[in-house]
Amino acid sequence: MKMKFCSISKKSINTMLLTMLLLSLVLFGAGCSQPAPAEAPAETPAETPAETPAESTLPSLEGQTLILSTTTSTQDSGLLDFILPDFETKTGAEVKVVAVGSGAAIQMGVDGEADVLLVHAKADEEKFVADGHGLQRFSVMYNDFVVVGPSADPAALKGASFANAGEALKQIMDKGASFVSRGDDSGTHKKENSLWKLADMTPSGDQYVSAGKGMGDVLQMADELQAYTLTDRATYLSMKDNLELEIVTEGLDGLLNPYGVIAVNPDKNAQINAEAAQAFIDWIVSDEAQKLIGEYGVEKFGAPLFFPDAE
């Protein structure tokens, strides 16, 4: 009996050791991989002396947190993971990213749940500021939307010429092909609605699939259903390898997608970190952050995903 007990405890010690070994391996692995993305931004200050004045304007926010409410596209495309470490090393603040549809992101601002917004629904952003929920909107960058569809292209969009992007969407419906809509009140969904309006039609029926999901999910769904969808180029490029969808329409009127940054009005509640929000805005419109934005994606996809346009 005693022997048995001993052997069990020995076994459990072995298990424990093994667990610790595994854990340390995992931690070591994480420790090794972490510096890699942070390296690029960390190196930039060293090589460009011109940045020193820009950096000195950023306050030290050691130990503070900033809640950034943003759209799924900035998160899913990997842009934030690429640029945020630069802000965090320069200020010492920790950025908590809540990535939701633009509608929900703006609603978080209205409710005072976020400190700063980075979204792409220009009309709503301007209304948000006009209604006193936010302080001021600054342009940050833009990317563009593309229409993607199955390679067989049943609606024959490839190579066709249209007056505007709305006409392209209309042809999908006219030819009896399916279209997956975000249907989630996001910036992309609003853009899509504006395109239908441009074509003067209201899509309906089984052809029109309203998913109520994020961009990544909708691309997967369009891929499964052999349907078309409207997507921002960034998310599409970042997922392209796992999809059979191709770009069928691009560069048309109505496909530009501007992003703006807005600090939430600090009068809403005492928890809003106005100082960090302002620092974030100063940083993201600075030459250096703008340069980082323009660089993202070049290495991985051969083309930038976002084009900086801060004034």
Partner: protein
Amino acid sequence: MDYIADGFKQAFNLLISMDSEVYSVIGLSLVVSTLSALIAGLFGTVLGIYTGLKAFRGKRLYARILYTMMGLPPVVVGLLVAILLSRRGPMGSLELIFTPTAMVIAQVILVTPIVTGIVFNVTVKRGREVYELGKTLGGGHVAILGLFLKELKAELMAAFVTGFGRAVSEVGAVMIVGGNIQGHTRVMTTYIAMNNSMGNYAKSIAMAIVLLSLSFLANAFVYHAAGEEI
């Protein structure tokens, strides 16, 4: 804090206004989950009684595995079913992904172990005595099964309602295999999750009230039917 009260107020307005989307969502939820619970109930009852009565090697291990399966995470089930049914998957040619059928399949997988587990547990405890009674009365297999259904009515009902409750309240599996498509695969839980992420708290709250009320009604009805005193 006002927005919570506002949410409830708008929620009731929404329920009274007979919004057709809300009702089709509720309807689909009920159809999918009832069907899943019925199919799982059938499998689970038979399997639970059979394995509960029969003595076999590894019954203890079987019980452990069964009880673990009762807590299968819905997302994992959703993932498995999605892999099987997606266009590139082994059953992709059936074109079932993003259909109510796919949702029923996922929920049956989720609920069957729950019903089986509950029935198995009851049978292990009380099944022998019912079986002996059936034997004494000189009944065949079918008659004994009938006696089981009669004697263990309350427990079987409870198993079914538990299964239904699990099916109607899970969001992980139906979100993945159904896809939350408006007017097609959108059910109560995916509706709540979606509206929450869109910032429409009133709609989420309204549907949450409906979901809770339905679970309550289902329980009340079944326990009443089973003749429980409490």
